[in-house]
Subunit: 221 residues, 2 copies
């Protein structure tokens, strides 16, 4: 489902060139559960943003479902992002003026679902992350871990075939974190593909494979 | 140095009253290293915001250095916050338009320090968290863990006598997280007081005492 060839991502900061990724290649088969680990600043989120079609590589190729992503139009990319990919950001990225309910509902509105259908899915997603009793709170009226769980509900509401989760349990206590992982395993058992960045070895051990990233490269040691 | 009596924090959401804290009392002696643990949404950040004089309780008393904080003027509170307290927020709270260097420098500018003195302290603080090579990056040009380290440098630059850290390692890999903890231990060894919220039992074990919070109350079980 995913194949990357020699991905590079560089930023020009004045005179200096910052190399976030320098030649990353890997493949992920359908229905795999892969963890990505590595030190702070090593390029994990950069990889996730490229996989989620939220950013474009400076160099290199990325094939999603056999299609070369760089050759897709903006509309085609938006369609894939909305229909097939669920994204849990490291910084949550919730709309500050919308309630938890509305934040989870938004991707379903873009998909053109009926109000009745949307409400059912939003309720179910908020219930899965135990956030139903805070559905009318806006992000500023929630704790850090509660915001993270709303972001997870938003990514799951659409029942995505590819779930990209960037450190989904960083702000959660271990019990809540374990519950979220059980949720991910259920999604995986339904035949979906999961890629998850984590700093927690206990969580990484639940994946089938770990990709280690260091200084913008895959670490094969 | 810290004494709280029967602290309450409630929010009125329409018809519903949300009780973030319902009667929290505890004391912290000078030069203690205390960890605060508890489930997501249990009230830990609310306690930290009250201790850091960033929020006021709905009910109850808070004494800092023997002074009743609710009786202090806004100027006196701002003075204490700037001179004595270093705060690492759960959501970093960096200025998005300022570089890492300038974010760390800001509290020192408020303190009225000379440019030369400030630069020395900013360099030293960024070096302590290994972020000197990213000093000219703005927050959007940094990874999640790098932003967290800049926020830690900002809290430490002023050599605070009371360090309040709300989940300071949530976005860091375990090696970087351990290095930050060693830094905290050095600050503690110098006679300072540290209160740290964490979800990580390994990190909590480095503290001298753990306060457990559950549903807005201290859990004495
Ligand atoms: N402005 C607000 N309005 C309404 N409820 C709020 C507000 N701020 C916080 N809350 C609620 O108060 C409770 C405690 O929040 P707090 O941020 O202290 O939790 P926490 O223990 O820090 O959790 P986490 O580990 O997830 O960061 C939460 O259930 C939250 O929904
Ligand atoms: N817009 C940008 N401009 C310049 N440098 C950037 C930019 N975005 C990221 N970087 C740099 O690229 C590197 C990789 O960033 P990335 O966010 O992928 O790291 P990460 O592995 O996710 O780290 P963390 O675990 O801390 O979240 C970092 O060193 C960062 O400073
Ligand atoms: Mg990251
Ligand atoms: Mg919190």
């Amino acid at each position: 489902i995913i194949s990357t060839e020699n991905l590079w991502k560089t930023y020009q900061m004045g005179e200096q060139e910052v190399r976030a990724l320098s030649g990353v290649s890997f493949e992920v088969a359908r229905n795999e559960f892969v963890a990505i680990m590595g030190p702070s600043g090593s390029g994990k989120s950069t990889i996730m943003n490229l996989l989620g079609c939220l950013d474009t590589p400076t160099k290199g190729k990325y094939y999603l479902n056999g299609q070369l992503v760089s050759s897709l139009s903006e509309n085609e990319l938006a369609y894939i992002r909305n229909q097939e990919i669920g994204f849990v950001f490291q910084v949550f990225n919730l709309l500050s003026r919308a309630t938890a309910f509305h934040n989870v509902e938004l991707p379903l509105i873009y998909k053109g679902e009926s109000k009745k259908q949307r409400e059912k899915k939003v309720y179910r997603a908020l219930e899965m992350v135990e956030m139903l009793n805070r559905k009318d709170h806006r992000p500023s009226e929630l704790s850090g871990g509660e915001r993270q769980r709303v972001a997870i509900a938003r990514a799951l509401a659409n029942d995505p075939s590819l779930l990209l989760a960037d450190e989904p349990t960083g702000n959660l206590d271990s019990k809540t974190g374990q519950e979220i992982l059980k949720l991910f395993q259920k999604i995986h058992d339904r035949g979906n593909t999961i890629m998850m960045v984590t700093h927690d070895q206990n969580i990484a051990d639940l994946a089938q494979r770990i990709i280690h990233v260091k200084d913008g490269k895959i670490d094969h040691t």
